[in-house]
C-alpha cells in the first residue's frame, strides 16, 4: 500500500515538514485536532487538557503496553479554526526539549483536504535523533525478540 504521508527533512536543517492529504473535508480534518474525545481516539492518548485558544495549553498522557505513563504538553500560540494551529510540543522526561509546530490546514476539494506540519527543533542533532527514534525502536524490538529466542534455546 502506498504511503500518503510525506516527510521532508533536508540535511543540516533543524526542521522537518510533514504533509498529508486526507479523504476528508477540511472541517472534519480540523475537528480531529479540536475535539478532545476525537484526539484521544486517533492519537491513542488520554487528553487531560486541551484549550483551543491563544495562550491556551494542552496536556496528553499515554500508557505504554508495560503500563508506564508518558506525558506530553504544550502551549497554543495561534488557533484559527479550519486554517492553522501554532503550538509548542514537549515529550516530558526526555532529552529532546521543546519543539515548535506550525500546522496548516487547507481544503483541496469538497471531500479532500491537506495538512502541512512544519516542526522546528532546538538543533539539527535533536531533529536527527527524533527522526531516527522509530527506527531505533524497531531495532530494539527485533533485538529483544532475538534475545527471547536465544533465552528459550538455552
Amino acid at each position: 500500500m502506498e504511503r500518503k504521508t510525506k516527510i521532508d527533512a533536508e540535511d543540516g536543517k533543524q526542521e522537518l515538514v510533514i504533509t498529508r492529504e486526507f479523504d476528508l473535508p477540511l472541517e472534519l480534518l480540523f475537528k480531529a485536532y479540536e475535539e478532545p474525545e476525537i484526539v484521544e481516539q486517533w492519537m491513542g492518548t488520554k487528553v487531560l487538557k486541551l484549550e483551543n485558544k491563544k495562550h491556551g495549553s494542552y496536556q496528553f498522557e499515554t500508557t505504554d503496553p508495560k503500563g508506564h505513563k508518558h506525558g506530553f504538553n504544550g502551549t497554543i500560540h495561534e488557533f484559527i479554526p479550519n486554517q492553522k494551529i501554532t503550538r509548542t510540543f514537549e515529550m516530558e522526561n526526555t532529552p529532546f526539549g521543546i519543539q515548535l509546530e506550525f500546522l496548516e490546514f487547507e481544503s483541496l476539494s469538497d471531500d479532500t483536504s491537506k495538512l502541512t506540519m512544519q516542526v522546528v527543533y532546538r538543533s539539527v542533532a535533536v531533529r536527527d535523533q527524533i527522526l531516527k527514534l522509530p527506527f531505533a525502536q524497531g531495532i530494539n524490538m527485533a533485538h529483544n525478540r532475538i534475545q527471547d529466542i536465544l533465552n528459550k534455546l538455552n
Binding site: 498529508r20 486526507f22 475537528k31 480531529a32 481516539q41 527522526l131 531516527k132 522509530p134 527506527f135
Partner: protein, 107 residues
Amino acid sequence: MNLRRDVFQALADPTRRAILLLVASQSMTAGAIAANFDTARPTVSKHLQILTECELLKQEQNGREIYYHINAKEMKEVADFIEPFRNLWDDRFNKLESVMKKYKSKK
C-alpha cells in the same frame, strides 16, 4: 529512485532488521542466520534474497559455503533511516482518517 525505495521497504520489516543486526557483528551462512529465528528456513531465505537484491547484504563464497555480510556503504547511505518515522505518522494519519469517516457517517 526505485532502488532507494526498495531499501526502505526492505528495512521496514522487523525480521529483516533483526537479520542485519545479527550479521552486523560477523558474516554468517544462511543456515546459521536461520537458526536464530522461529520462522521457516525458506522464509529466512526469502528475506536474505531481498536484503541482497537491494544491496544491504553481500554474498561471499568461502569454499562450499556462502557467507552473508553487511554492505556498509549501502547501510550508510540509508543511515538517516527516515522510513519508520514516516510510517509512524502515516499510520497515525490513517487512523485519523478512519475515525473521522466513522464520525461523519454517524451524524
